[in-house]
């Protein structure tokens, strides 16, 4: 970049744009770099020219390197190169835009600055909102309902009102106050606004903000009541609305801050449906993780013939696991199908998230051996020594042992148990057979 820039800026200084190996001192075209170098050394070999020469040499050296490195010049392999050729012949090879991608020059991160600005802004909003909430709390607690004058006094006591005579224009919309355009005080910031720039804040909504726990007890539809103009006695109807609910007048600016806080609380306390589903699924997944561990231990212990665990216990756990697998399957399917049938298809990101959750669940089920609910067949034995002279009973026992090994590998513990039971049966039967044979002989 610096090379190109210095060239361009130099050239703009000249009236006539010339190209070639020009001597920077006498502007003579020397045709080749070597000739220019010798010319410069011979003709301008003075003290002050020395610095200029070194600079020039450096520049040309860099340019030379760059040109030699650029693949678009000597081969048409890159797209860039072919494009240039078709556009303007050999000269276009020197077109700076066709040069290789340049390294980044000096850069500076503005992240810190951004964070600084943002933090101070957030701070200001938070402080401001907290101040409003403190005032709001006092305002709704002050029990002076009924007495207009007293109420007004207490309101003014909590929030200093801007004197009427100081303000001639609405703080928000800038309209001039007049006989018909009355002045109103925001009970929260004390500022003077017009009726259009003020809203009534119901006490219920205020309480929800100052004490979020309150909202949970009384999940009522809370919102701004519209502002019907009923008479001119602003202070009176600023106490109660048509339904007799208490409310106060505030400006839209304060309202905005309060709404923002409300949203924040809402975001923190309520979770989207997908998160609720996901959390339920995650609980099942965690349970499976724990259960499988115990089950593996049980199955191994049982297959070793230990008596630490009861078979029935292991089976019970197995059923539990099967149910959990089913839960995970059902919930993940629900997540995947969330809003899919709606008229407005979910956002691509959302759809992707849903798909990913389902994929995760499917992979989890497969990995955890949730195939418990699918078929299983052991792979064929590698070599079956089917010697005719071998007792079929013994042969079968070795087959079963091989199956047990395979079932264990596949984590099919249910199958391991079935096979184990069969092996025992075979052993008992074999012993009986042998006893009968010895008795007969």
């Amino acid at each position: 970049m610096p090379l190109e820039n210095s060239y361009n800026s130099n050239m703009t200084d000249y009236v006539e744009v010339r190209e070639g190996f020009l001597c920077p001192v006498c502007m003579k075209d020397l045709v080749t770099f070597e000739q220019l170098q010798t010319h410069f050394e011979v003709a301008h070999n003075t003290e002050e020219d020395g610095a200029a020469f070194r600079h020039l040499k450096e520049l040309l050296g860099k340019a030379k390197k760059k040109i030699l490195k650029d693949p678009s010049i000597d081969s048409a392999s890159s797209d860039e190169g072919t494009n240039d050729r078709s556009r303007g012949g050999a000269t276009s090879a020197f077109d700076p835009s066709a040069w290789e991608v340049q390294e980044f020059g000096a850069s500076s991160s503005h992240t810190e600055y951004f964070k600084q600005v943002r933090d101070s802004r957030v701070d200001r909003f938070v402080v401001e909102t907290n101040k409003l909430l403190l005032r709001l709390d006092k305002l709704i607690v002050a029990d002076v309902a009924g007495d207009t004058a007293k109420r007004k006094a207490s309101e003014k006591d909590i929030v200093p009102w801007v004197p009427d005579q100081d303000v001639h224009y609405c703080l928000i919309c800038g309209i001039r106050f007049s006989l018909v355009k009355r002045k109103h005080h925001c009970r929260l910031c004390g500022g003077i606004i017009c009726s259009k720039c003020s809203v009534y804040l119901p006490f219920a909504y205020a309480r929800k903000l100052t004490n979020p726990a309150f909202a949970l007890e009384e999940p009522k539809q809370l919102g701004v009541s519209s502002l019907p103009r009923t008479g001119s006695s602003g202070s009176l109807n600023s106490m109660t609305n048509a339904e007799g609910e208490q409310h106060i007048r505030i400006c839209t600016e304060c309202r905005r801050l309060l709404d923002r806080r409300d949203q924040l609380i809402e975001q923190r306390t309520s979770k989207p449906i997908i998160v609720q589903f996901y959390e339920r699924m995650k609980v099942a997944v965690d349970e499976v993780e724990k259960g499988v561990e115990v089950y593996t231990e049980m199955a191994n212990s049982l297959s070793l013939g230990e008596t630490r665990f009861e078979l029935a216990e292991a089976q019970k756990l197995n059923v539990r696991l099967a149910k959990l697998y089913e839960t995970i399957d059902v919930i993940s399917k629900k997540i995947a199908a969330l809003n899919m049938g709606d008229e407005v298809a979910p956002h691509a990101q959302q759809a992707r998230l849903q798909r990913c959750v389902r994929l995760y669940a499917a992979a989890f089920l497969q990995e955890r051996g949730a195939q418990g609910l699918r078929g299983w067949a052991p792979a064929a034995a590698a070599v079956t020594t089917s010697g005719v002279d071998v007792d079929p009973m013994l042969q079968q026992m070795s087959i079963i042992r091989d199956y047990i090994r395979k079932a264990k590998q596949a984590r099919r513990f249910d199958e391991v148990q079935m096979l184990q039971a069969n092996l025992e049966e075979l052993q008992v039967e074999y012993k009986r057979q042998q006893r009968r044979l010895t008795a007969a002989s």
């Binding site: 029935a312 089976q315 019970k316 059923v319 839960t327 078929g375 067949a377 079935m418």
Partner: protein
């Protein structure tokens, strides 16, 4: 915990979400297609040249009925005479049996009949037996008529079906039919049902009869 995963099931049934496990044995002359039938059912595969079974092969498969899941523990016995001594070990504790014959061979049908007799004599009295005339795709080489099979099955109150492991015809159906016929409710008599393992909470009694209550 109580209602998750069962939303779509009708309420009020005590069978909801139960997993029943049944032992099923396949019997029949060698090379009639027992292994092919099971392999088709369990893995959906078919091999033109299925190796002859040694001893008894073991497979499992699960089928879902309306609101219960039935897990089959399948013992695919070898048809060769030399392994005949193993068969009783497997059909003795079985709740279901599929006796297979080859519709292109009268001999295999006769052998199937003798298997049915053996089962009736020695197996669990409540065993559900299905008679399967396999290789139904080879209709031009048919030696055993459908009616013959049906008539014999009716006489002995067996489930009868002609199947083809190659084309997958009726393969799943025969297992499903058996699953439906198996006693899944607590039997009224003490001898009713079989020693199927009930995979459910409280299934502590291994020898208990029936599947799910």
């Amino acid at each position: 915990m109580a209602n998750r995963g069962q939303v779509q099931r009708p309420a009020g049934s005590s069978l909801q979400g139960k997993i029943c496990q049944f032992k099923l044995v396949l019997l029949g002359e060698s090379a009639v297609g027992k292994s092919s039938l099971v392999l088709r059912f369990v893995k959906g595969q078919f091999y033109e040249y299925q190796e002859s079974t040694i001893g008894a092969a073991f497979l499992t498969q699960t089928v879902c009925l309306d609101d219960i899941t039935v897990k089959f523990e399948i013992w695919d016995t070898a048809g060769q005479e030399r392994y005949h001594s193993l068969a009783p070990m497997y059909y003795r504790g079985a709740q279901a049996a599929i006796v297979v014959y080859d519709i292109t061979s009268q001999d295999t049908f006769n052998r199937a009949k003798s298997w049915v007799k053996e089962l009736q004599r020695q197996a669990n009295p409540n065993i559900v037996i299905a008679l399967a005339g396999n290789k139904a795709d080879l209709a031009d080489k048919r030696m055993v008529e459908f009616e013959d099979g049906q008539a014999y099955a009716d006489e002995n109150s067996l489930v009868f079906v002609e199947t083809s492991a190659k084309t997958a015809m009726n393969v799943n159906d025969v297992f499903l039919t058996i699953a439906k016929k198996l006693p899944k409710s607590e039997p009224s008599g003490p001898s009713g049902g079989a020693s199927s393992r009930r995979l459910d909470e409280g299934a502590t009694d291994q020898a208990s009869t029936g599947c799910c209550k």
